[in-house]
Structure formats: structure tokens, C-alpha cells
């Protein structure tokens, strides 16, 4: 489905169109980013995700996010510090290259067909688990010092939602709801998941809130 999004705060009213699929985590990342950048939704329409900005057409969630970040500077999606930026990219890529491609619909269908439905779940859980273990390791060195028992915190900074979070939020949600992953081995990601759940930009972007959502 496609949404026309425009910035209600700026005078120039850039008109962006996002084509997205309610269930796709790639689309979901971009929806969150658009929410964070205060683009308000106008009206919907399909496909996943493609951003149209006048004569520029961009597919791929990472390319779209980087484009949004470069063009619209409000509520930055990346910190200034080069090292922290690199960590954000690393986390994002663990999701987009090591986890997501191995658990998308066509791959899972294939496994289910060739082996079994049980194997499909085991497969998804295994790859997500590996990726999540890598993320726990990666982020521990950065998010660790902000973590306390009671505090809500986000990946690399105390109050900023960053690029890595855009990738992590949908991935963790999917792991829990679709693949029933046991999150007890991933305390950091579990904390992040709770934090994401309380943020309006994330809530509004959730699959179940999308107009093209299909029941069942």
C-alpha cells in the first residue's frame, strides 16, 4: 500500500509517497522513520517499501532511510560520532543481512515444502537466535553503561532513537510474535523491545495498525 506523507510543519510540503506492505519488517522500518521525522500521513494505496519523492524513486529500506536522513534533518536517525554511527550500521546490517533474508516468506515456504513446518520454525529460530546473540554482544559494549534495572533506554544514546533501533524494533517484534523466540537469553534486546513498545512513533507504525492489514 502507498501512503502520501507530507510534512505538516514545513511550509514547502514535500510530498513523499511510501509504498509498503503492512507485514514487512523492511516497510516497518521506513514507517517508523517517517513518523520520527514528523511526516504526517495523508492517504494510502502497495509494494515494499518504495519511496517516491518527486522524480526520485528508491526501494530498499536502508537506502530509503539514508535518503531520508540526508534530506530531512529533523530528528536525526544517526548520531554525529563516527564510531557510534558505525555501530548503528553494524547492528542494522546484522538484521538486514544475517537475519531477515533467512526468515522471509519465500525462504520459509521453501523450507516448509522441502522439509516440514516444524523445521521451518526451527530454522527461523536458529538464525534469529544467532543474529540476536551477535546483537547482544555488539550492543553490550555500548548500551551497557546506560542500562540499569529500572531505566528505559535506547540503543546507543539516552533519548535518541537511532537507525539501529529502526531495524531492531520490527525484528524483535517479529521474532516474538511470529516465531515465538525465547527471549530470556537476550536481556538487552528484551529491554529494548519494552522501550520500543512505549514510543508513539513505533506504535503508529506497527503492522496491525496499517490499513492494508489482513486478518489471520
Amino acid at each position: 500500500m502507498a501512503k502520501n506523507v507530507g510534512d505538516s510543519k514545513l511550509q514547502e510540503q514535500p510530498k513523499l509517497k511510501l509504498y509498503s506492505y503492512w507485514r514487512s519488517s523492511c516497510s516497518w522500518r521506513v514507517r517508523i522513520a517517517l513518523n520520527l521525522k514528523d511526516f504526517s500521513k495523508l492517504s494510502p494505496l502497495n509494494y515494499v517499501p518504495v519511496l517516491v519523492d518527486e522524480d526520485i524513486v528508491i526501494a530498499d529500506s536502508f537506502a530509503i532511510l539514508m535518503y531520508l536522513e540526508e534530506k530531512y534533518h529533523q530528528n536525526p536517525l544517526l548520531p554525529q560520532d563516527l564510531h557510534k554511527r558505525a555501530i548503528n550500521f553494524q547492528a542494522a546490517n546484522i538484521v538486514s543481512s544475517s537475519i531477515q533474508p533467512l526468515q522471509n516468506l519465500s525462504v520459509l515456504k521453501y523450507i516448509e515444502e522441502k522439509v516440514s513446518s516444524d523445521e521451518k520454525f526451527a530454522w527461523a529460530q536458529r538464525h534469529i537466535g544467532k543474529g540476536f546473540a551477535a546483537l547482544e554482544q555488539l550492543l553490550k559494549g555500548f548500551a551497557g553503561r546506560y542500562a540499569t534495572g529500572d531505566e528505559v533506554f535506547l540503543v546507543l544514546s539516552l533519548s535518541d532513537i537511532l537507525n539501529a533501533d529502526l531495524f531492531l524494533a520490527p525484528q524483535i517484534h517479529g521474532a516474538i510474535t511470529r516465531f515465538k523466540l525465547d527471549m530470556t537469553q537476550f536481556p538487552l534486546l528484551s529491554k529494548l523491545h519494552e522501550a520500543y513498545g512505549e514510543l508513539p512513533a513505533f506504535q503508529a507504525a506497527m503492522p496491525e495498525k496499517q490499513p492494508d492489514r489482513v486478518e489471520g
Partner: protein, 211 residues
Amino acid sequence: MDPNSQEVCGSSHSSASTKLLLYSYWQSPCSWRVWFALNLKEFERLNPLHYVPVLVDGDVVVGDSFAILLYLEEKYPQNALLPSDPKGSALNLQAASIVSSSIHPRHLMSLLEYIEEKAGPGVRLLWTENHMGKGFDGLEKLLKEFNGRYATGDEVYMADVFLAPQICIAIRRFNLDMSKFPTLSRIYEAYKVLPAFQASLPERQPDAIVQ
């Protein structure tokens, strides 16, 4: 797998006395991309030694080829790997993502072995042809309108850094029929004569095991 670490330093007309350490594995396309980029940015190798790929720059440690490449691009702007115009930049990132998210993860050795184990021999070939073919189709469509020497024009950019190793591997390791991908075939010929690319070839790495 026997990884290797190599020190590289910035050349005289780039960042003075910049020393980076890259841990890489000669056979990995992820490592390969980073070597290609370091060559393009004119970092010279100093002396060797492991995991893959990991870049150490002072107290900054970065894993993952895409993250490393973006870090290098932001920190060492010489011979830019992303064009300054937003459209060109987005295009390059898109191509890079297609390789790193849609193509490469689907032909990892461990994955192919699993498929062979679970679904029988022969299936593995169909799997790679299918997924690699789809990915290359996507790239062909994306890049078709550009008639430059390389993927997105006449300069080597991020898209090329990802495409070059991927195409080479598709041909060498998977015997992919490239006749269906005229754009990719054409730019691959251009990569082959680039010194930065030649120097990054797996067989030229110190940890290469030549059969």
C-alpha cells in the same frame, strides 16, 4: 577458515599516518568488498597477520562489511564511494543492499550445505540459480538505464564495490549464466581491468590457499 590481519596505511596524499588494521578472509566476498574499497581509497598494505572482516582504527572496532565501508567513507573522504547527489547516493545504497541482503546471504556455504542435507543434492544448484538469478535480475533492472563505464556512471562507487566480488563469485563459484545480465556483464569487464579490483582478488591475498 584461516583468517588474516593486515595493516594498511593512508597514502601520502590522503590522511597522514592513518593506520588501519583489517581482519579478513581471502575467500569471503564481504572481506573482498572492503579490500576493494581500501584500494580505491588508496590505502596501502603494510604487513600481514585473522576474522572477517573487522576493521580496527585506533580504538574504533567495526565489524560487518557494509558498516566498515560506510565508516571508511565518512572518515576518509578521498575518492568518494558515494556520489554527492542524493539520487546517486540512494541508487548506490540500493544496489549495495540488494547484494548484501538479497543475494549474498542466500548462498552462504553453511546454508547451501543445509539445503543439500535436507532436500537432497541437486536442489542446491536450483536454489542458487533461483536466488542469485532473482537478485541479478533486480540489479539489471535497477542499473539498466545507466550507460556509464561502471554501475551508476563513469566513476567507481559503492555499488561497484559490492557488485564486483559478487559477480566474480557468481561466475567462478556458481557458474551463473551471465548472458541474461548484459549490464552486469559489461561492467564486470570494466572491473577486471581496474588495479584496485585486481589487487583485491582473493588469490592475491596473503592468506590465500591456491589449489
